[in-house]
């Protein structure tokens, strides 16, 4: 068991926890957090499986995971901007329908 890095196993668990939470949680912010956790899980699998005990880590996966971290950040920023915009639009929609109640 010890030759498969503990981190790769943790990465696999993180991947499935994130996948599960992303489909079964309702708040938008929670889904975005789940996507980030899933991304971290995949990167842990990547470097965890490649790491040989004793040798220096292979630089090519490090560069790939660095690219992955930046891309995940870009997706998170876009998702949050969309979520805020969606909330505003839903509130506009609700506040638009509310005036009649006041007069009704």
């Amino acid at each position: 068991m010890n030759d498969l890095s503990v981190y790769a196993a943790a990465g696999i668990l993180l991947f499935f926890i994130g996948l599960y939470a992303l489909f079964f949680r309702r708040q938008l912010l929670r889904k975005i957090l789940a996507a980030n956790v899933m991304g971290s899980g995949v990167f842990l699998i990547f470097i965890g499986l490649v790491k040989q005990p004793g040798q220096s880590t292979d630089p090519v996966p490090q560069a790939m995971v660095l690219t992955g971290i930046i891309v995940t950040l870009c997706f998170t920023a876009a998702a949050i901007a969309l979520a805020i915009r969606l909330k505003e639009l839903n509130e506009e929609h609700h506040s638009a329908t509310r005036p009649e109640d006041d007069f009704g």
């Binding site: 991947f15 990547f46 490649v50 997706f75 969309l82 639009l89």
Partner: protein
């Protein structure tokens, strides 16, 4: 002759990546001169695509290692038949959508921000598509998929309404799950075999639990991104609620990117695996997509949602390739699927552009209220009918030729049950198209509708003609598609007893 040599020597397929990226950055920096920059970029890309097609026919498929670092370390770019046909399709359909967008998003219109941000996002999608078709490196494919997805999501949300932003957010989250699953597969392959290059992997990959898991993960991720039947829930709202040129971009071009990656994986990297069970599963899902998508399209009330569900159905056809690709029918099926993608791109883009023009002139796109579409809408209804000829697959069009090849492959491999599926798909397509046309040609007196600008009328017509003539001039694309294709056998045009 020096000019010809110079033109043939240039690596056009690399220019087709740098050009849209430069265009996107400059349209972002100079928002006031967005339309001219965007249009001349589209023109240059079209010219580049034409040159790369000539280059391919002259010298065969080209490969180039970025920065002269060879395969295991650097990234290899490859312009083989599949890549060049898809580059040319994206360039052609993209150029016509760009012309249409000039009229649809007037720079000085009431909504300058929509026009100002359409062009950079559209050029990023274009760059992502071109980079994806040409790349031969698994991780590089991941990055290009991300560019295409992020730009497509922003384009979907350009409409600004609550449904559009909600659809864009669902599209983003679903694609993110798909990309991360695909990346997990790439991670397993790299951990096992130490390289992410397509050609190297196809030589060195052996079939064992690790590579089978990687294959399963990558295929699931790509299925989610290309919206095959059970995982298609995000596609109709996204394509249905976006502005017309954006829906055309999404349905005609973006949907094909994840599928082309799957095609490369299936025919190159995992070619040596025994995947009978997976192939039949994909075939079954494809058939279910055809039937279910067409039935849902029949029930739609709005024109753009009808076309979006038609996309879900047509994607089903693409997935019939995997069970039908036997030893001797691989070439037939390869050409069939490439022709189908080209025909579907032209036909679907034309349909969405016409729907956009109809929505602009009639003010809405509810099918039931398009009654008596005499006058300006009448012409558009005719163009809509022409565009749907290739979606249904009637004889002169490219769609017919692709379905004909699929039928031959099904009969040659003895899997007869795919024939009724293909034919009912065409029948149902004819059904939901005639449902739209039957409303359009009721003779009900209509008040005069505002005439939209001419630049929004001829692009869909041009696309329809291209899709129609594709069946007649199919030999050219077939020859180009087969250069450097990883398939065996020859094209079975007619079924010898």
């Amino acid at each position: 002759m020096i000019l010809a040599d110079f033109l043939l020597a240039q690596p056009w397929f690399v220019w087709l990546i740098l050009l849209p990226l430069g265009g996107a950055a400059s349209t972002f920096v100079l928002p006031r001169r967005v339309a001219p920059i965007g249009f001349c970029c589209a023109l240059l890309i079209l010219a580049g695509a034409v040159f790369s097609v000539c280059q391919l026919t002259a010298t065969g498929s080209l490969t180039q290692a970025a920065g002269h670092w060879s395969a295991p370390l650097g990234i290899v770019l490859r312009a083989d038949g599949l890549a060049v046909v898809m580059l040319a399709t994206t360039a052609g359909v993209g150029f016509i959508i760009s012309c249409y967008a000039l009229g649809y998003f007037p720079a000085r219109g009431h909504e300058p921000s929509r026009a100002r941000y359409f062009w950079p996002l559209w050029l990023f999608v274009w760059a992502g598509c071109n980079a994806l078709y040409v790349s031969a490196d698994l991780f590089n494919l991941y990055v290009t998929l991300e560019i295409v997805t992020l730009a497509a999501v922003a384009l979907t949300a350009l409409e600004g309404g609550a449904p559009a932003v909600g659809a864009a957010l669902r599209y983003l989250l679903t694609s993110l799950v798909g990309s991360l699953t695909y990346l997990a597969g790439v991670a397993l392959l790299y951990a096992g075999w130490g390289t992410v290059d397509l050609s190297l992997l196809s030589q060195v990959l052996t079939e064992d639990p690790l590579s089978r898991t990687a294959m399963a993960l990558m295929i699931c991720g790509l299925l989610l991104k290309s919206a095959l039947f059970p995982l298609h829930f995000w596609l109709p709202p996204a394509h249905g609620k976006a502005p017309a040129p954006v829906s055309a971009i999404l349905s005609a071009l973006v949907v094909k990117t994840a599928y082309v990656v799957l095609l490369r994986l299936w025919f190159e990297v995992f070619a040596s695996f025994d995947r009978a069970m997976t192939a039949h599963l994909l075939g079954a899902l494809g058939s279910a997509a055809i039937i279910w998508g067409s039935l849902m399209a029949l029930r739609q009330e709005r024109l753009k949602l009808l076309i979006a569900y038609s996309t879900v159905a047509q994607i089903g056809y693409l997935f019939l390739v995997f069970p039908l690709a036997g030893a001797e029918t691989a070439a037939t099926v390869w050409t069939a699927v490439i022709l189908f993608m080209v025909a579907h791109a032209c036909g679907k883009a034309a349909m969405f552009l016409v729907a956009g023009t109809i929505q602009q002139t009639a003010g809405h796109d509810r099918i039931s209220q398009m009654a008596g579409a005499g006058g300006p809408i009448g012409v558009l209804a005719v163009v809509f009918a022409l565009a749907s000829v290739t979606i249904i697959g009637l004889p002169p069009s490219g769609g017919f030729f692709a379905k004909w090849l699929l039928l031959n492959a099904a009969l040659a491999t003895g899997q007869w049950w795919y024939c009724p599926v293909i034919l009912t798909g065409s029948l149902l397509a004819a059904a939901y198209v005639t449902r739209v046309l039957s409303w359009a040609f009721l003779d009900v007196r209509r008040n005069v509708c505002p005439v939209s600008s001419r630049v929004m009328k001829w692009p869909p017509l041009a696309l329809c003609l291209v899709a129609l003539l594709l069946g007649l001039a199919a030999y050219g694309p077939v020859r180009v598609a087969l250069t450097g294709a990883p398939v065996t056998g020859h094209v079975l045009v007619e079924q010898r007893p």
